[in-house]
Symmetry: C2
Subunit: 725 residues, 2 copies
């Protein structure tokens, strides 16, 4: 009896100890286990990614021209979506949107000609690139054009305008007193977005614009040592591209679904003058005939002539004629969206994005990225089939219509704006994977700065012979930050690729990254064969990444970083990065404009004070994050929510002045150059207008300083435990 | 040894059982316990609320005029904030905003006069109400005015325009061919927001407008049986009020903080003609002199005359002169904000709101509500001091500047927009508590429909002698829904009180409610003494709620509902209510406009299809909610988030056509009457313009149908487990 009694007593004591023990240890153990499992998953992704698969994908993907709106790009979409389905994703959707595209007239190509006295054609620029390698399809290459340039004819005198920046036009008009009205302009690519060159030409009443890429900006090797013997642009190569920057023309701000109400396609495009791109070989024929004064030294290109300005040729009786026969058409662009649902927080998303449409074969841009993405779906799809899922949902996206103005991603973000705004954690864009093998370049939201570094430290240097062991190490060597001891990143994500709508409108922390050349060595806006028909698989395999080690490195970085953000308990974002970015930039603004602002009573003190509040809140929040019980999934979620809300706090539904598409108050493309990125865009663009256009818009500046102050203070509130500082 | 051995064995078995037992049962028990504790808290709130405290508060609060911008309202703010602090809230903040107010010139009051042939004054309307009860301060009553009416003089012929609706003006212009240009208009209060009457008069080129409240709309008793002998309006009483509807004139869309950039106060107010309110006793002097034809039968009021239209008096040589000396001034309005932090999810908020500024003594509007709110802070503050906190944060708000255009609440919501948009669960507004004792009236987001019913079923009928046991029962008796078997509620929350900015701009599910008269018995837009100087404590205690039982009932309903939403595990919102509201309203739109829409190719099918998707998603979500493990706090949070995101999904950052302040696509005030509420406002307002103004804006209608379709489909996505249907 006693024995039974003490047995029962022992049992009871045991129960109590058990309760206590279980309660105290079960959950902490689960966190440790989860961390270990996550590390295993990351290694799994790293080593399962197979570069030969990527090579094979790239070969197939680049076997035809993948221009939006064509049957060949639809075929690619069917292929990719089938591959992703085969790879075992939970759900693969093809999401079509009918949007406004622009095409050249194949039977009546555009012409850029020199006309003699009686209208005879003295010279005519090529309407297609000349085939230079064994890619048979180059014979069927789509004629050259600038998408969204309207049909029309311009005839008259030519003027050379350097890069076509506002200051270039102003130099012609004010320093050289050249009447630009009805002149045809020839501008070299570089420095700013090509569409902004056209808008500038329009603004100065020019009648047409010819674009070319000077060898000074595309061939830094010997003149004869060009593609197909190197990666440098030959004199027959042409950069294609769109000139219709925010190209959601028919359904601005809303998704182009079948039920959409569309604007009139004949009234929406803001490009009003004909425009056509030509090769530098052909441009030479025009430039060498120019009369007028010599162009300034920094306007001189690398063609074997002394560049002159015009207007007109030295032989006044010969003229230029620009004939554009492009047409607009509503066509379907399609995205492929693949989903792996998270097993703990399915309503939180990490997105990987790339586009698949190209101007021609697109071996670098974009299909090197697409090949990597499909290979990532294979590895993660296989893990899922083995029961390994991330905590949060991973969404793979390959976009259509990017080249025409980010159309596929913009329409998709517009369609799913509400859920993305509420739930997306990060969007990681790889427009293309590799254009050269020197270093990583990355633009990032300050929030994703640390996750990017962490992933880069995990990935081996793609060059196994290097003494730099990781991708991070070589990045930090070739592309170091300015005195930070860390690799360089830039924060202001422009509108150059599909992260734009995610970041600028939905406030989703984003990254855009690729492997590239050392820009200190070669001062080029893009790789030499960019957007030309010579961007072939042969070119990629011969001159860019023969081993596919760098393509693999990018896939590893992309996959590892995405899985980590999707699977880690508390996000490894450091909110202090954001506070510091803002405070640093304010300091530089003050240095630049402080005196003038004082004169005009600009309330910079309030802006600084809000920035200090954010710094304090960020530090406090950072300390709080260290103390979170990782077992308390609700506490984890609450802390994580505050981090993603920090980015959302910078989104102003009212948008920037005259630009409702751009709602991020801290970072946005410049209003005057879609490739250039501004911090505090509302303030900086206004100052640009005040300084360059002598606009007296100090009230607008005051409003922008006010809105910025308010926004930063709001951001500080989002980090507060309750939210009302 | 054996004994020790078996003891250890028992102990180990016990540990294992303990682990198992603890894991299986600890959490379910906690949920049950939490439910029981919550029920106890609700009963505690119910029975601790003390009506005599409310009586005492009301007496003090109404002891002076509480006009915004005056020292007396600042004194009230100091008092309330001190009371709330004394009541033990975690944090009490006074949040000041400098906004544009409008005041009468006290030394040179506004005048409404009849002039004789040689300019002699035949009659002059009173510039203040005559004191009728023992409230001594009535002698110092602030002169009558319409806030934001500009200073100016109008002189000329009078025209009677009934309620001043668009159709009333159109009747004069088109049916009676009266030239309204430069006429002074006299309009009776009622049917639509007074500011919209003024805008209509402006639109028809009138030179000034006189407002009065006809006895037909304010005295349904015997003519002599009026205040101070009853609650009916006497012939000396005047309804004051603002005519500047969206009155955030200086800092639209952003908070009026000290660092704000303000617009020029001389350029922002959209009211351009003088306006002044008078009593019906004084109005009689003007109306009985009118010449012209008889007014139609439904234009006849209850004054002892035959109402005529004019223009002008039957004696053509006498005229009307309207002199307004109001001035604009930037003044501080202050809110009192009190916070009790939640103990599980401090980053989720339930807000209780009421305003404290009044046109005069404000015994009903708003201070009956303020008295109730302060008493609620006492009870909940005491619970907190005893360690009883709700799961989520409760925020008590009493707003300043409401009467001038919801200024205090609008600026506060603007300041904290980011956190409110992300985190607020519900905003429950009681502008005032009681204006009569027949029944509850409530407007609600469909999401809060069920919580409102649940709370009303818990609160005893304020009339203890009634056979209807609960507030719900008597509400269902006096004010039943149309064939639903449930009490009537309305869904479309207008801009009549402080829920407007919460609901229309931040998408926070909101309620507006008060105890009132049976509107079937008395067809009045508001209680008779509304906005007059006779709204005194004496009046409230004598004619409205002598026992304070009804004030108590409202405090109970408000407190219990708020605590329940703040403390319940899974919200008791029923998303199917929203889906049904939308589908019902679509049906009625189709009945009304179907034929015409077909003719104009309006894509109503897509809208209906989106609505069906929402219905399906809501049903699925509702079933999912039943299966949620109440112990899994993360799963609970995820489900709750989807419910509050449903309301957010209806917020379009781009706003309604020409109205960036109104962003709720499903419910908004009518563009043509701020008191009237529209479902699908973008569609209905456009149809109104097409029908009444013969506007040919079918493209705008198509756009609004498109935006509505997209928005409803988005809402369906927010209820999906992942979010991409």
């Amino acid at each position: 009896m006693l024995m039974i009694g003490s047995g029962i007593a022992c049992l009871l004591v045991g129960v109590i100890i058990g309760c206590f023990f279980y309660h105290r240890t079960e959950l902490p153990m689960s966190h440790v286990i989860h961390q270990q499992m996550m590390e295993q998953s990351l290694q799994r992704i790293m080593y399962d990614l197979n570069k030969e698969n990527m090579r094979a994908h790239l070969k197939v993907y680049t076997s035809k021209q993948r221009l939006s709106g064509t049957e060949d790009v639809k075929e690619l979409v069917r292929l990719i979506s089938q591959q992703w389905r085969d790879n075992g994703l939970d759900k693969v959707m093809v999401t079509p949107y009918d949007v406004l595209l622009s095409f050249p007239n194949i039977s009546n190509p555009n012409k850029v000609e020199i006309l003699g006295t009686n209208g005879n054609i003295i010279f005519s620029a090529a309407s297609k690139e000349k085939p230079l390698d064994e890619s048979g399809e180059l014979a069927d290459i789509i004629p050259l054009y600038s998408a969204y340039a309207p049909a029309g004819i311009a005839e008259g005198d030519l003027v050379y305008v350097n890069y076509g920046r506002i200051e270039d036009f102003q130099y012609l008009k004010y320093n050289l007193s050249i009447d630009l009205t009805n002149k045809i302009i020839i501008a070299r690519y570089g420095k700013l977005y090509r569409g902004d060159k056209v808008l500038n030409a329009q603004h100065f009443n020019c009648s047409g614009i010819i674009l070319y890429r000077d060898p000074a900006n595309s061939n830094l090797g010997e003149m004869e040592d060009t593609y197909p013997n190197s990666w440098w642009m030959p004199d027959t190569g042409v950069q294609r591209g769109s000139i219709g920057s925010d190209a959601d023309f028919l359904t601005p701000l809303y998704p182009a679904k079948d039920y959409a109400h569309r604007l009139d396609m004949n009234e929406v495009v803001n490009i009003k003058i004909p425009c056509q791109p030509i090769s530098y070989g052909d441009a030479l024929h025009f430039l060498r005939e120019l009369g007028g004064v010599d162009a300034p030294e920094d306007w001189q290109g690398k063609l074997p002539i002394r560049y002159k300005i015009g207007p007109g040729f030295s032989n006044k009786s010969i003229k230029v004629r620009l004939t554009v026969n492009n047409y607009l058409k509503v066509e379907t662009v399609e995205n492929v969206i693949g989903i792996i649902s998270g097993n703990v927080e399915p309503d939180r998303y990490v997105l990987l994005g790339n586009h698949h449409d190209a101007w021609a074969f697109g071996a670098i841009d974009p299909l090197s990225g697409t090949a990597a993405l499909t290979e990532i779906t294979r590895v993660i799809g296989k893990m899922k089939q083995e029961g390994i899922r991330p905590r949060r949902t991973i969404i793979f996206c390959t976009w259509g219509g990017e080249e025409f103005g980010l159309l596929g991603s913009t329409e998709w973000v517009e369609e799913y704006m509400k859920v993305l705004y509420e739930r997306a954690v990060a969007y990681i864009n790889v427009d293309y994977a590799v254009d050269y093998i020197d270093t990583l370049v990355a633009g990032t939201s300050p929030l994703l700065h640390d996750p990017l570094y962490q992933a880069a430290k995990m990935v081996p240097n793609p060059d196994p012979t290097s003494s730099y062991k990781t991708l991070y190490d070589v990045w930090n060597k070739v592309n170091p930050g300015n005195g930070t001891g860390e690799p360089s990143v830039y924060y202001s994500l422009g509108s150059g690729s599909d992260m734009a709508t995610f970041y600028q409108r939905a406030g989703v922390p984003s990254i855009d990254m690729w492997y590239t050349f050392d820009h200190k060595r070669w001062d080029l806006l893009s790789f030499p064969l960019y957007h030309s028909a010579y961007e072939t698989f042969h070119m990629y395999e011969t001159f860019i990444d023969p081993s596919f080690n760098y393509t693999l490195g990018m896939a590893r970085l992309w996959g590892v970083m995405s899985w980590k953000i999707a699977d880690e308990t508390v996000f490894s974002f450091d909110v202090r990065r954001y506070a510091k970015a803002i405070s640093d930039f304010l300091e530089s603004l003050k240095t630049k404009y402080g005196t003038e602002w004082k004169k005009h009573n600009i309330n910079i003190a309030a802006l600084e004070s809000a920035s200090m509040n954010l710094t304090t809140a960020a530090q406090k929040f950072h300390e709080h994050v260290q103390t979170i019980d990782r077992e308390n999934s609700l506490a984890v979620r609450m802390a994580n929510d505050k981090m993603i809300q920090l980015e959302r706090a910078f989104i102003d539904p009212e948008g920037l002045p005259e630009r409702p598409f751009y709602k991020h108050v801290i970072f946005a493309p410049s209003k005057f150059d879609s490739y250039k990125d501004n911090t505090f865009p509302g303030i900086v663009d206004t100052m640009y207008e005040i300084q360059y256009n002598s606009a007296s818009i100090w009230d607008q500046l005051k409003q922008q300083v006010y809105v910025s102050t308010y926004t930063i203070q709001s951001a500080a509130n989002t980090l507060d435990p309750v939210g009302f500082q």
